[in-house]
Subunit: 467 residues, 3 copies
């Protein structure tokens, strides 16, 4: 069902080299330095409940496409905030999914799912309206067996290290449980303080309260806030974290004076912060995070340029992560000037930049990465984490930044059983990209043989300081 040559150029010369390069990395372990797997599933190691709950309900890549064609989220079992009833018949939801699986033709979601169904669950048929129930039953039966529990899948997937993404106020209890267990796996948290920094976000005050509870001193000033974040970073680091992550509307950076920062923070505590306060404070906190990274060695990641919850009606009914986060044009050259001028030449600092705006690849990101010692480019993010998207990234970035200023692959997923398919896709695309360079006599095959290993595992390990 899954073709051994998938994603390889049909040109026989390229395909031959691509196969050979892919063969060198196909069995290497998976390095997962950035993702959204819920650590509780690995801490508790309970069986996954059923196919629908595993594959459809948590994955906004999946249900956004069904929604775009007029299928209400209620019919897909997505919980409403107001508690109004939604479909609970998991088989019925799966049937709807199967009947509409053609909508995903040509998308990475379909490719990942097909590979996951075939290679993780041994499904031999194509999912459609006819086969949906049969496939549901087959997956459900497997999920009930011990081999399909999370830790067993993790080991079978040959994951060498997996980093999760965690709020600054996460207790990391699940991580503690994993570390204290006799299961030998390298699962690490990542420090993501967005909800503490986003002064005007919903629940900000509660996040500050949690921060107060978790740290040695109540957070009643900007100075306390900084101290609390430093304390939490140290805790994350003690729990294995090697990186931080920052989701921001823009990569604007700007250093405020301590007095200005205190004023804004005080306004926020009083519930009076403005949008501009928030923007400036976020710009300042990126500077602060860079400063702390220079000190504690945590690799800093910036994910800018997503307009979150664009569909407000949907957000109000169902909450966030409903597939309506829409990218916007993003500017790096000017926005990052203060941060890179202050920290970009520092050998202790690593900054991984992501984008949803592909026009910046060749215009801004590759030139920045090809110059500043601190900068590495993250792999194609989100909508661009795909066959064509990854190819464009390599084509637009490599000539200016080379491959050694890129951060290798990360799967960025909350869909745990799709992890092997995602890494395999990336390795295939990189093999195919290098194979074309070999066949166009830009690089030699012996050079490509080292490069494919670097792309598959070494760059991720080096960039994220893993092992």
């Amino acid at each position: 069902m899954i073709h051994p040559d998938r994603f390889f150029d049909p040109d026989p010369a390229i395909r031959k080299v691509a196969r050979e390069l892919h063969r060198r990395v196909v069995d290497l372990p998976l390095i997962c330095p950035h993702g959204h797997v819920d650590p509780s599933i690995l801490a508790e190691n309970r069986p996954f409940p059923d196919p629908t709950d595993l594959i459809i309900i948590p994955d906004h890549y999946v249900f956004r496409m069904l929604y775009s064609q007029g299928i209400p989220l209620e019919r897909l079992g997505i919980s409403r905030r107001d508690g109004e009833p939604v479909e609970t018949d998991q088989r019925k939801i799966w049937q709807t999914f199967g009947e509409n699986f053609h909508l995903f033709l040509g998308t990475p979601t379909r490719s990942w799912l097909e590979q996951e169904l075939a290679e993780v669950f041994g499904i031999e048929k194509t999912l459609d309206g006819e086969t949906a129930m049969e496939i549901y039953d087959e997956i459900a039966a497997k999920l009930a067996t011990p081999e399909y529990r999370p830790r067993e899948l993790y080991d079978r997937f040959n994951i060498e290290v997996l980093c999760t993404t965690d709020a600054a106020t996460d207790s990391l209890e699940h991580h503690r449980k994993i570390r204290e267990s006799d299961w030998e796996a390298d699962v690490r948290p990542t420090f993501r303080p967005d909800w503490a920094i986003h002064l005007i976000g919903p629940g900000w005050k509660e996040e500050i309260d949690r921060l107060s509870q978790l740290t040695s001193k109540e957070v009643s000033s900007y100075k306390d806030f900084i101290a609390a974040l430093e304390e939490r970073r140290a805790f994350f680091k003690s729990m294995g974290a090697t990186a931080t992550d920052h989701g921001v509307a823009t990569p604007r950076t700007e250093e405020l004076s301590a007095a200005e920062a205190e004023k804004i923070f005080a306004r926020a505590l009083a519930g009076n912060a403005t949008g501009e306060d928030n923007d400036r404070f976020t710009a300042h906190m990126l500077m602060e995070m860079a400063r702390m990274s220079v000190d504690d060695g945590l690799v800093m990641q910036i994910h800018p340029g997503s307009y979150r919850n664009h569909n407000r009606a949907l957000y109000e009914t169902f909450g966030k992560d409903m597939g309506s986060d829409i990218p916007t044009a993003t500017e790096y050259t000017g926005n990052l000037l203060p941060l890179l001028n202050k920290y970009g030449n520092d050998a202790r600092f690593t900054l991984v930049l992501f984008t949803l705006d592909e026009s910046t690849y060749s215009r801004e990101l590759a030139p920045l990465a090809g110059h500043y010692p601190a900068v590495r480019l993250g792999p194609p993010w989100w909508f661009q984490d795909s066959r064509e998207g990854m190819t464009r990234f390599r084509e637009l970035v490599t000539e200016t930044a080379g491959i050694y200023n890129t951060a290798g692959f990360n799967d960025d997923t909350r869909a745990f059983p799709s992890i092997p398919a995602r890494h395999d896709c990336s390795r295939r695309i990189d093999a195919n990209f290098l194979a074309r360079l070999v066949c166009e006599h830009v690089i030699r095959e012996s050079e490509a043989e080292q490069m494919i290993v670097d792309l598959a595992i070494n760059l991720a390990k080096q960039t994220y300081r893993l092992g």
Copy 2:
């Protein structure tokens, strides 16, 4: 002369599949939901006067390229507003065209014309300075025969439905004549109220006067204006229209209060509207048009991002549509927020988005179309309606939005005899795109066989609610 494999990848595996997919759609009827054919030619069915008048003079794609190389428009027979003499020797104009036909090498204009000359007119030679007169005579002779009258060509082209584009104040007399004739063709108008909405455009007041004359009440207020547009939409619908079209500088949307709208409209009537009045009113009218579309079911199309008549000297001498409409960067995510939040989840509403800014394909348009039930992406527009442009569109859009959130093909042309070549080009590019996916094992050939039919006709019919 016209190679049967044109536009197909030379890779033998891809070419084989592309041929087979193309074979399945090559004889399907043409669905033309958006274009600029003058309905009078079909209403009157008079012979086309001569090759120059048919192919050169009305087509700014053609003469803009000659102009860019220093050939004055006067030498190409383009009428001047001031009545000063221009070249009237049609053979001499055609000769100039032939001598410069190499300028179009590699452009879609040349590909379309070559196919049109070969397949519509049976020309067997390449157009150049040597062959120009011979080819002119051959076309002229054919145009004089009954088989080359507009309706006969329409039938021979196998057009199933053709929509024109018409001002809100068009009487639709030509459409009436066609409908009342015994010629069985499905020719429909499209409601395009740009000139009534563009408060500061030349002739706006006259357009409002025409609106008053054509509707039941004089338009002396914003409220009247809205009522008049609703009345005209109903009339267009009664004449077969299924869609509206809106050419705007930006896709900004913003709802004004009725009082604000009244104030701006009053200023416009008094001749005092400002640029910002116009921008806000246009933004508001897009909201109004969406509201009406929800009610009457007319599909809404937005064509933003062209700076019209950039070359003012040329505009003053020759008028509009002289090839100097130049695209600008276009922003959708923020601009469409109000409209999509109010109407984007409504199952009754279809909004087709076009762009001239390809950087928005993967960044904004595909994510919007892959989420909002109302949104469909129009095919590559204008400069991008080309072999490479259509390929980029599919590559940049499909992975995020699939093909089922795209609107199929439309030829958008005023060059009537080029219609078959344009549809064939699109079908070939789509076949080639799918063939590559098949050969890279992203989709199966059986899946591509359905997809190519959907791309060639079904998506256009569904999106535009035709038949």
Copy 3:
């Protein structure tokens, strides 16, 4: 070592045609209408000192990549402004380069260098840490021979014409020496008045003083300034110049009244010009330069969109051209409106536009070039002067502007011995691009045979009015 099919698509059909097209231009002379070769090396014709001084130290393409991976510029022998010591052991620097040459895999810098080492210096091994010293010695030995002096290389490279880039206040002494020598070579200056126009740049006042000394009247007003520039242009023209060049932050154009221009210029002389003064004055001076070009026939080039010296710490320590000029998004349609409306229809005027923002290729630049008689598109600039970059340029531009509104190739280099490799790369990419069009039956092979010669030499000669 250098594969005869490098840069050609591995598809056998395309490769066959590409080879044949390349064969037709491989031995044609090199037309170099825009570049940064130091004319003194040709005036004096002294042997190049050593490999490091020739290849590494002057080339920020090379050392920026090493710097991006944490190698301090001091270790690469780059002089510090403060005179603090830097590495002076040229062999040690070359060794560092060799050990890190893998960083350039997949970049044009590596491709150019490999071809230069093989074809100019006859090196038969791949540069790496093992071979570095051996290769150094081999190059050094050759540089000491008469055959490797600058003029001998120039002749061997088969350069037909080479234009340098020179400040408005350059005495052109080196050019005079070349012209007065018995060496028959066509070396021409290009008028680049950036430092005289950039009111708030470092050393502006000194540049104005130089201008006063070099011209017939002291520059104490805007009017004097214009007269001085006109005088210098005439001098440059008398020394063979056919073009001017303008590096600007944005392509903003705007005509100031003489009074406004005088006021701004007076503020600048008094040391009080603001950033906005500078922006407006630059916008105005582009208008003035166009006006003068209409008069004197010098071809005008605009290179916008680079944020110069982004890394301020590096700039302060080492000066400019250290690899930290970072592109920004660039807007042409609106910015060029005043200039193109005033001069764009003038047959006497040629304006060559460059960009670092590839999103403008299809959106703005090709539509402008495909309409305005004055506009030609410069070849892919800087980071985009590469295999993939040149291919994207042709794919994004040709369908709208054809090839005859493009300016042919220029190498834009200060790395003199890389010139043949750069032209060969461009000719190969153009041959490959045309070969694909031939194989997809968009153009005929006979047509491509003319087009490849036009792309290789004719368009550059015509655009820059050379010979």
